[in-house]
Subunit: 115 residues, 4 copies
């Protein structure tokens, strides 16, 4: 499973680790909001690529295959990495942004009636 | 800024809130891994759309415009929402996936030499 | 079907019309290969958005609904417009590129055996 | 540039060649509009990936490098292939769709005034 027994880092700690990683490789000049939004879209496409020809049954079973499961975790990591780095450049807290959006959506989409 | 003074929810709490939100609207049948990966890509594209014609200077100033800043936070929220819901369907912990990926990348990309 | 009775323009003629359209609005400085590749991805995502929550049956019936059908044609037009403009900036003939690719794929993927 | 001296196929001929290619490999069941729209987005992302970290000057010079130029033509071919196959499944003529869209855009975006 990867990371078994390891204490998970928080989003803040991961964001700081990504910043140190980019700084040590002098990649910061490339990490503009526009480039990071492009990279985020590209990586989301790579995650979608795993599923594009699969039937619903095959898609539901994708994690049973160790190689496919690794690829899924790898693309999830890339999407999250670029999302956190994007958020750092524009100083948006993604947790606050999402909590605010759910608040708005609860007003916009009323729940289905109970039967 | 939205959410000022509010205690931020953790990723786990947001994931649970998203699950309750979808269940109350009976949206779970639509939330297959394939559909959620497609929706994630679409929303990442909407974030990129904000930046697609901007010069680097304009892109760096995007958060100074309240309307654009709102749009950025809104698309960040959508990307994170679909990423968390995708991870819930395939039972991947995105924080562990990213920590593991940074571990691998530290071996793969050696830091630039100090001058 | 839209354009019934109209003589279709060729790809070359459409490319020239797009170039005149952009020039008349002084949009050429924005039409760099990078920006056009980003816009192409964004528009492909908008086409995908129409289908993202649909079942296979609903997706197959999408053109029976005039509003959805219009949206599909509109996004197809946007994807083709940015693809042609991208190709013009890098001087790639998309018809030749595709014919060459099919040639390569015929060697790479042998046909299924006849039963 | 690739295929020099070869008579280019028209869009219609390429669409027919793609249909025969898929039929010979029994790939038609996978070629639903939803899957093809997903594949189109994924390939557009792969084209964008070539440019994502490039400066404007580097992006303008991308075709001077034979390996990069080949990759650009290859991704252009994939985008066009999935666009044509998508259009075939929904019976949209992409040339007519684009001509109609330019007509609408000429009304929507008036040209810049002459100086």
């Amino acid at each position: 499973m990867g990371g078994a027994g390891k204490q998970a880092l928080s989003l803040d700690e991961l964001t700081q680790r990504l910043a140190r990683f980019a700084a040590a490789r002098r990649w910061q000049p490339f990490h503009t909001p526009k480039n990071l939004a492009a990279a985020l879209t590209v990586e989301a496409g790579e995650l979608l690529e795993i599923f594009q020809w699969l039937t619903p049954d095959q898609a539901a079973a994708v994690m049973a295959d160790p190689e496919q499961a690794h690829r899924v975790r790898d693309e999830v990591a890339d999407v999250l990495a670029y999302l956190l780095q994007f958020c750092a450049t524009v100083q948006v807290d993604p947790l606050v942004a999402l909590a605010d959006k759910i608040d708005r959506n609860e007003l916009r989409f009323p729940p289905a009636p109970q039967e």
